[in-house]
Symmetry: C2
Subunit: 353 residues, 2 copies
């Protein structure tokens, strides 16, 4: 323990003396904090996969392959069109397990409540969690409640952790991504982030933008059951599609090329993004994911996705290139120009999840 304490801080303190909002925003600073501080200190094989969760095998002899993940939810406001912090906290962890290729089974819930939260608000959130858990077919089996003084939190924060089982032999992880893989997404981008921002900014459109927050386990289970050769899955949360692709490109040493024309974004979402100055590629979703599948299974996978209600708007958006630069994500625009899609710098959308 003494040895660990003698290490110097891997984030340069002269440059970043305090934690900034951007350290939690899903962009470059978040990435640096996690990679340099957390992964560096907590180093172990299960953490090394840079996945949405850890995967390990238990039993003697080893017989059960498990995924384990956690996320905290600090979304503001607590209720928004299409969901609330409770349903979000269930969907988010169900989806992280799903992205590990696991069948989600059990969730834990840790509540941090600010003194003075209306009891009825807590009750609505707790019921929403249970409704979301029932819909996703998972059980909330253990929990914890803490209350802090007025002014020491912001209404309610929720942590969920989850356990799921991996019941197939695919190795679904960024490391499995290969040149030639086809990228599929299950629907239009940007709704979750824009639903939150529209409420916060008091924007009114002809129709309300509803969050896409949803449990993806049923849809992904269909892909797995169909025997689709899935190489990697990633949900498009903080930092959006752009950040997810950059992380995967970096870990897999792959070159990813997407086509702007194939990436579905609803008109009202595009309008909201323009008004607020956001790029839909970087906006968070809570019910959208990208699947890297073997080229020979791409059409079958797309059909399987479209057959599911949460994949009705599925699209083939790009490929992993054989001859590109490792770690690079590029996008060909509607007018044919190609640009680099970088990881987000700074904070785009605080507290959208």
């Amino acid at each position: 323990m003494e040895a660990a304490f003698s290490l110097s801080c891997p984030i340069p303190i002269s440059e970043y003396p305090v934690v900034l909002l951007a350290h939690g925003g899903g962009g470059k600073l978040s990435h640096a904090l996690i990679e340099k501080m957390m992964v560096g200190v907590f180093s172990n094989p299960a953490l090394e996969t840079r996945h949405d969760g850890a995967v390990f095998t238990l039993g003697d002899p080893p017989s059960v392959r498990l995924a384990f993940t956690t996320d905290s939810y600090v979304v503001h406001p607590l209720f928004f069109p299409g969901g609330d912090i409770g349903s979000l906290a269930v969907h988010g962890t169900v989806n992280d397990l799903t992205m590990c290729g696991a069948r989600p089974l059990y969730l834990s819930v840790g509540l941090i409540i600010e003194e003075g939260l209306p009891m009825d608000t807590l009750w609505r959130v707790v019921q929403s969690m249970q409704g979301a858990a029932r819909q996703a077919g998972v059980h909330i089996v253990t929990g914890d409640t803490k209350v802090v003084e007025r002014g020491k939190a912001d209404g309610l924060f929720i942590n969920t952790a989850g356990v799921g089982v991996i019941e197939h032999s695919f190795h679904i992880a960024p490391q499995s991504v290969q040149p030639g893989d086809v990228l599929l997404i299950n629907g239009d981008l940007g709704r979750h982030g824009m639903a939150i921002m529209a409420v916060r900014e008091g924007l009114e459109f002809e129709s309300t933008i509803e969050s896409d927050s949803a449990p993806l386990n049923g849809l992904v289970q269909q892909l797995i059951d169909s025997g689709i050769e899935i190489h990697c899955l990633r949900d498009l949360t903080r930092g959006g599609l752009a950040s997810a692709l950059n992380e995967i490109a970096s870990v897999a040493r792959a070159s990813i090329a997407v086509e702007e024309a194939y990436i579905p974004v609803r008109e009202d979402v595009r309008a909201a993004c323009e008004i607020l100055g956001f790029d839909p590629l970087y906006v968070a979703n809570e019910g959208r994911f990208v699947a890297f599948v073997a080229a020979h299974d791409a059409e079958r996978a797309l059909a399987a996705m479209r057959a599911h209600p949460l994949g009705a708007g599925a699209a083939r958006i790009g490929v992993v290139e054989a001859d590109g630069r490792a770690g690079l994500v590029t996008m060909r625009s509607r007018i044919g120009a190609t640009r680099i899609v970088d990881m987000l710098s700074g904070e785009q959308l605080p507290r959208i999840c």
Copy 2:
């Protein structure tokens, strides 16, 4: 989902329109909130054990028995004599798994950081977590970092969840407690809560009171390896020994009798309790637990505990009575009078864990 939303709030809103600090204090209001709202809504077999964590079996055929638990940590101040929020967050979850009779294996970490937290503070806490994990022989395998605006949290909150395996055939749970069982604790009470309070209140004693925060898995593993017939284990955190015994007495429909003279409390802790108006029975510990063991194994268990550094001060403090009132905890004082030890009303020590 519609059906769930039509239920009325099980906590009377006319009486408790908002959440109070006492709803997280480990006493009667906490208990009511968890039992009526959480257990009521999230009802399922794994939750029904009223244990420190959930226990379930996985594999086809079922082959691996797992425990799964979570806790959030909001302790104030972040650093205190004998520990900090990081080591506490590891010990707490390691101990909850241990109390389920499990061997802790893997932890998740969810950080909620207030913008402006000194980077060096975060670094010290992260290193402390890793030091505590190494000492306990567990791995931190997955995590999440959120940052909220200044004034929307209080420096740093940490959630940990944990997974462990149960590798014996005992059913260690409140339901297994039987008349005749002997109660053992592994050392003196009240140090964690008083260490925190002494710092907060600026109390000075001849020697500093250090928290008892410690990982209990090694000590309990020795009891299990010795084949001691353990019926129930419970760590003495929020609400202290009194609350733990009341919860177990209630679930087990048991009558528990303890002897005040046998319950070890250090003199400086007793003095601090007197100055601040606390009863050591209700003060939180983070490295103390009570074991309910079969009478025929009591002496052997006590010897095994005392042979471990974290059990050097172990003591036999009471029994489960055959003819007492179900759900009742009583204490015989030093002068021979017997009184009821009730669950704590209201809030005693906010944010001690």
